[in-house]
Amino acid sequence: MNVLPELQPAFADARKVFNGRLTAIEVPRPDEVYFHAPIELVAGFCAHLHRKWDARLVSVFADDARTDAGAFHLYYVYAIDSARGFFIQRASVSPDRPEFPSLTDAVHGVNWQEREIQDLFGLRLLGHPNARRCALHDDWPEVYPLRKDFALRTVLPAFQGVRHKFREVEGEGVFQVPVGPVHAGIIEPGHFLFSVAGEPVLYLQLRLFYTHKGTEKLFESLPIGHGVRLAESISGDSAFAHATAFCHAIERAAGLDAPPRGRALRTICLELERLYNHLSDIGAICTDVAFVTANMHALRLKERVLRVNEQLTGSRQLRGQACIGGVRCDFDAGQLDVLRQLIASLEPECDALMELILESSGTRDRLETTGWLRPEVAHDLGVVGLAGRASGFDHDLRRDFPHAFYDQVKFTVPVRTEGDVLARLMVRRDEIYQSFAIILQVLAQLPAGPVQTRIDTIPPDRTALGYVEGWRGEIFHWVRTAPGNRLARCKIKDPSLQNWPALSEAILGNIVPDFPVVNKSFNLSYSGTDR
């Protein structure tokens, strides 16, 4: 298959620079190129792609291919945004020498991803600055759950009581504030250890993976059709985005696409998901600075969106709507009217809500300059999605890698550079209006025809990358298919996994009581991270 024209220069360059050191090149799709290269080339490949093509390392993962290929495979997925394509380096790790070099010192964003590989595959990390356990907590026995010879339903001994040792922070007047995993609010579990001197936070250590529930392993035991339902349970607030990214990967593996109407309805559902989450977050940010009235209005508006979701798809959270080849329910004329009325009524309500928030000087005072994520830091950490865009890091797969129906609509990607809580709130506000515009444009040119391409058999032994810009940021699902409509591997990358380190940076110098609002302004998914 031919490489995408935009991707040709980078492709030719990589072939030339690494000539003789690549063992194979595969181009299963024009925008998805696999370079098979020895493990020693990982750092050099990464540095070259980043410096010359401004590539972003968006996902690092392993696959136990010992039965088929006699080795573990490591995959490094690079997005080359300017060329609308992905370069994927595949490196083999021999079972006799189960170790791999770390990139964390150069690319901080892969810290947890690499440690997860070490935990789940038993491949030892070399040169990692902090190669401790992460996905499996300290009390876990020596097991490698994502190896093929480990059974999903293995019963492990109960908690043994070994405590995680946090880094010590010492000094005059320095003390520690441990919070979680059970929090005061209705949020997901995670542990935060604040080191403070007086009120300002000196250092924040995060400990997550409390909700690790074996999701990726589970994908390998389910028929692909049931995998769509599992994808909806990766991060419930992004149920449709995750399920659609999964379906996208399967469709690419099968070499088929959703029909135009199916892609249009996907776009509508993705924007509805964005709407209800942004409304919810705007309200929750206000609650965290004690402006509860605004939250009540926001919850009222969110409820309207959820009820329309139910009228359109049967589920308030759009569950059950995604399916391989398109979407499950078509919308009839009456339903489309309901959607139009929703947009028409929400627009003035959002104006009023935002006016309420922005004219409250007490609220603004708490949000401005709070939780400052400096643009340089956002860039260095590769912060994605709305949090990145609020700190000037301008990436959006809807524009850069148009999927679903996004190439048929006009919209802008709101970007700010202030990087504080207010900026993240304002990006949400601006995106809400863009979502209205996108939905109305889709409705104006809604294609007729089926909403679903039937895909009965998924060819085995294919690898494919699916992606969707969810409301939080970019979601990637990478699959390797197996015979009998099953999967040999499904790798999930939620934007939260990329963005958590940004929270540790943004909180520095802020007071502990501002942590909830800073945390909410990112609103990262624990479940999406932990899986």
């Binding site: 529930k213 919810s280 059950g320 004219e359």
Partner: protein, 287 residues
């Protein structure tokens, strides 16, 4: 200030009158699946279509026993697509105090090709203590009646501590809504509190992960008695899609004694209100 008042007046009262009136769900909403048991031809397609094993069957000696377990059901509707004898209703008030009340079992004599010859026994109507008043049938049910007395002690004002023991956060999206103006849990004198030491009820979501098991137990231990535990969602009620695996203990009742199960994936706010009010025996009777 004037703007705040003007906005509040313009918005008016948006609070639902539930539970005095039925849940305001769309006719298209997918709630509890309904099987036409008497005319069911074959349990196999529906069982194969079900992602969680909410519909399963056991075949032995020319007979089949088929089960529908609402605790496992995602309300996804795939069974209804696979089998014309199954219809998705929009019924969301499915909570039950006894786990087995969520299971309906029916047996059939089989034809040689594996389809159903005839139904052997009519399904027992699934129902909870609140829905089927009368003599308690079992020790388990008796324990529930005693629990209901504890609930009366708590009845007037209830403080809830929510714990996510491993959920995907879908349940949390709906639980957060209970505190909003539409569902307004506070009108019942029910509050979410920040500490288990202030709580009468533990509202638990998710399959309990191995990494959360200890934290969940400690949270429960920190609560004063009498205390109630409500398991929320397919994962909390049964382990859902995740079941019991290397990283999860499965359902909440594998770790803590559960007083009420609220099925759904996720249960909508009406279903949550129904389950919480059922736990404290405060459901009004609607004609």
């Amino acid at each position: 200030m004037f703007n705040i008042l003007r906005n509040s007046l313009r918005a008016g009262v948006v609070t639902t009158s539930y539970p005095s009136t039925p849940p305001e769900v769309s006719s298209r909403a997918r709630g509890r699946p309904e099987i036409d048991w008497a005319n069911w031809q074959d349990a196999r397609p529906a069982a194969a279509s079900c992602p969680t094993g909410a519909i399963v069957h056991e075949d032995r000696d020319g007979r089949r026993t088929a089960h529908l377990d609402l605790a496992k059901c995602l309300f996804c509707g795939l069974c209804a697509e696979a089998d014309p004898a199954i219809r998705m209703t929009n019924i969301c008030e499915c909570a039950a105090a006894i786990r087995t009340d969520l299971v309906t079992s029916v047996s059939y004599a089989l034809k040689p090709d594996g389809t159903h010859e005839r139904m052997d026994s009519a399904p027992a109507a699934p129902g909870s203590i609140a829905a089927t008043p009368g003599q308690p049938a079992s020790i388990e049910a008796l324990a529930k009646v005693i629990q209901a007395r504890a609930a009366k002690v708590l009845g007037r004002s209830l403080h809830i501590r929510e714990v996510d023991a491993g959920s995907c956060n879908g349940c949390e999206v709906e639980i957060v809504g209970l505190g909003g103006p539409v569902y307004d849990l506070e009108r019942f004198g029910i509050h979410f509190v920040a500490s288990p030491r202030h709580a009468d009820m533990l509202l638990v979501t998710g399959p309990v992960t191995r990494n959360m098991e200890l934290a969940l137990k400690k949270t429960y231990d920190a609560m004063p008695a009498p205390r109630l535990v409500v398991a929320v969602g397919a994962c909390g009620c049964s382990g859902g899609l995740f079941g019991r695996n290397y990283a999860t203990c499965g359902a909440v009742d594998a770790v803590l004694p559960v007083d009420v199960y609220i099925p759904g994936c996720p249960p909508n706010p009406f279903a949550l209100l129904h389950g919480i009010l059922l736990a404290v025996d405060r459901l009004p009777r609607r004609s």
